[in-house]
């Protein structure tokens, strides 16, 4: 009969508790720190903008001048540029990305699927500065000499395609943003399409529907919400891109109806002025731009994440 210890070594248990608590505190600090970080970013950026805000107030949002010489700043033309480039990018990227995702999940032969899927993902891995470099030196001249004149010859009667073709401007920026948004939307859409249960598709096929009819009637409907989130995520990417856009957009303070014109977006204006802010007011106005950008980005991101979470919840039945 072995003796049963009447008490466990207190020292060892104390050490265990210290270890456990230390781990909890350390990792907890890291975890909570992540949440605090977002608040800190928001706070510091807002803080940096107070000078500009006190000077211009909310009128900054509808003021379309950016004049460092006279210390007069406003965000309107950049809000416009952001809106137009993002909108066009999404308009082009969404059908492309959904088409790619459908091809990868419904059409492509097995062997091809993995390869093309990997290639599309590689597109997302290209650093934006390299896309911008390509945009400046290759896409730009192509647009100047070929694409924009061609568009103008067919659609020049639209104010969208008026004005003289240029190698920098809203259109090249929008195209680069499209290239960036497509892989993001496509990879989310692909996962969504793969999650559609086979027996649901079988039910449609057994009625004598063609492949496209099955996609249109069952697959797209089933994944509607998630696709919305995917597009919103793509929008977030397009909104926040500073480098590639600033390289090709022309960097002028301009609101024009023509897509050939140059302009600027919120992110790219901030990026463009990194070396050249002269006054505190200008710097603070850059922060003000960052606040606007941050607000847009946070709203969009939160909406997308909430949709994704709701969709997951629905799909897994709450587990």
């Amino acid at each position: 009969m072995t003796a049963v210890p009447t008490e466990f070594p207190a020292g060892r248990r104390f050490g265990d508790r210290i270890g456990d608590n230390t781990l909890k505190v350390l990792t907890g600090a890291a975890g909570v720190g992540v949440v605090v970080l977002i608040g800190a970013i928001a706070w510091k950026v807002i803080d940096g903008s107070t000078l500009s805000f006190s000077e211009f107030g909310l009128g900054f949002l509808v003021h379309s001048v950016w004049d460092p010489v006279h210390n007069d700043f406003g965000a309107l033309s950049f809000i416009y540029g952001t809106a137009v480039t993002s909108f066009i990018a999404l308009l082009l990227a969404t059908p492309l990305a959904i088409g790619i995702a459908l091809y990868l999940t419904e059409l492509a032969p097995r062997a091809v699927r993995e390869v093309i899927g990997a290639l599309v993902e590689m597109l997302a891995a290209i650093p934006s500065v390299i896309l911008g470099l390509w945009g400046i030196l290759i896409l730009g001249p192509f647009m100047l000499n070929h694409l924009e004149p061609w568009l103008q010859s067919f659609l020049g009667w639209l104010p969208l395609f008026s004005g003289s073709p240029d190698q920098k401007g809203i259109l090249p920026a929008a195209i680069i943003l499209t290239i960036m948004a497509v892989p993001i939307i496509a990879s989310v859409a692909r996962e969504l399409f793969m999650s559609v249960p086979d027996d649901l598709k079988d039910g449609a096929r057994a009625l004598g529907a063609t492949r496209w009819e099955v996609v249109r009637g069952v697959v797209l409907q089933y994944t509607r919400a998630g696709l919305g989130a995917a597009v919103i995520l793509g929008l977030g990417r397009a909104l926040g891109e500073a480098i590639a856009v600033t390289q090709v957009v022309g960097g002028t303070v301009n609101i024009s109806r023509s897509l050939f014109a140059s302009g600027d977006t919120l992110a790219s204006r901030i990026a463009a002025q990194y070396a050249g802010f002269e006054t505190n007011l200008q710097l603070s106005s850059l922060f003000y731009l960052a606040v606007i950008l941050l607000v847009f980005s946070l709203i969009i991101n939160l909406i997308a994440q909430l949709i994704v979470r709701r969709f997951e919840f629905q799909r897994t039945g709450g587990t």
Partner: protein, 291 residues
Amino acid sequence: MTQEDPVTQTDTMVNVAPIEIAQRRERPQSTAARETVFDIQNLSVSYGKAPAIKDVSFEIYHNRVTAIIGPSGCGKSTFIRTLNRMNDLVPSAKVEGEVLYHGVDLYAPKVDPVQVRRRIGMVFQKPNPFPKSIYDNVAWGLRVLGMKDNMDDRVQHALEQAALWDDVRHRLKKSALGLSGGQQQRLCIARALAVEPEVLLMDEPASALDPIATSRIEDLMHELKNEYTIVVVTHNMQQAARVADMTAFFGLEVLADKSRTGILVEYAETDKIFTQPADKRTEDYVTGRFG
């Protein structure tokens, strides 16, 4: 029949499904001449290297319920899915032999599977209504196929045929997912019938349902055979005895390379299969000696 078996063959046969057989005898046998819808000739299907069914040949008749029974793994599902070319969806599936539908081989090169499935509908084991309203579930096929005239009447007729109309007439716009399992399955039947097929294939349609829902589906099969050709796969022998006019018994055969494949063991009127099977394997199965 082994020497240890004390019971005579006839006694054992009747013991299996006495009530079902008796009930069948009460129903008037269809006296119309048998008309062939499917003439299956030497049908073999394999998935890549693995054989699923081998050399199956028999005929399926119009206005009859034909049951496909047999132990699991003997290719019953594979077989029924060949009848409407649903196996096309499995890339590794290889089909040899002929499936003649009114004399035309469904696997002939010029035949479009989309058209085949229009004429030969299918209901699946797990009810799979679309995440749409009840009305739209039935109407979807009609819209796609361009049968849009008198849509409301068509939807109602299909739901009546599936014995679901009274249950849902007041909530046609509600989601189909709110229906019970048995109702969802009847909705799937209505959906299949709406596009006016000639044949209705049913792959274990009641196996996911409770007994009451099951018996409603079985009653339905009995009524539908007056207008359609019904082929039903079932792992429940008693169900086959209850509903089927003809029964095909599939068994397993071990090939030379130790792989197993499904084969047609016997095909006859249901009565005969259950009371006087010609093949010993059939006898073993229906008496419950295996499977």
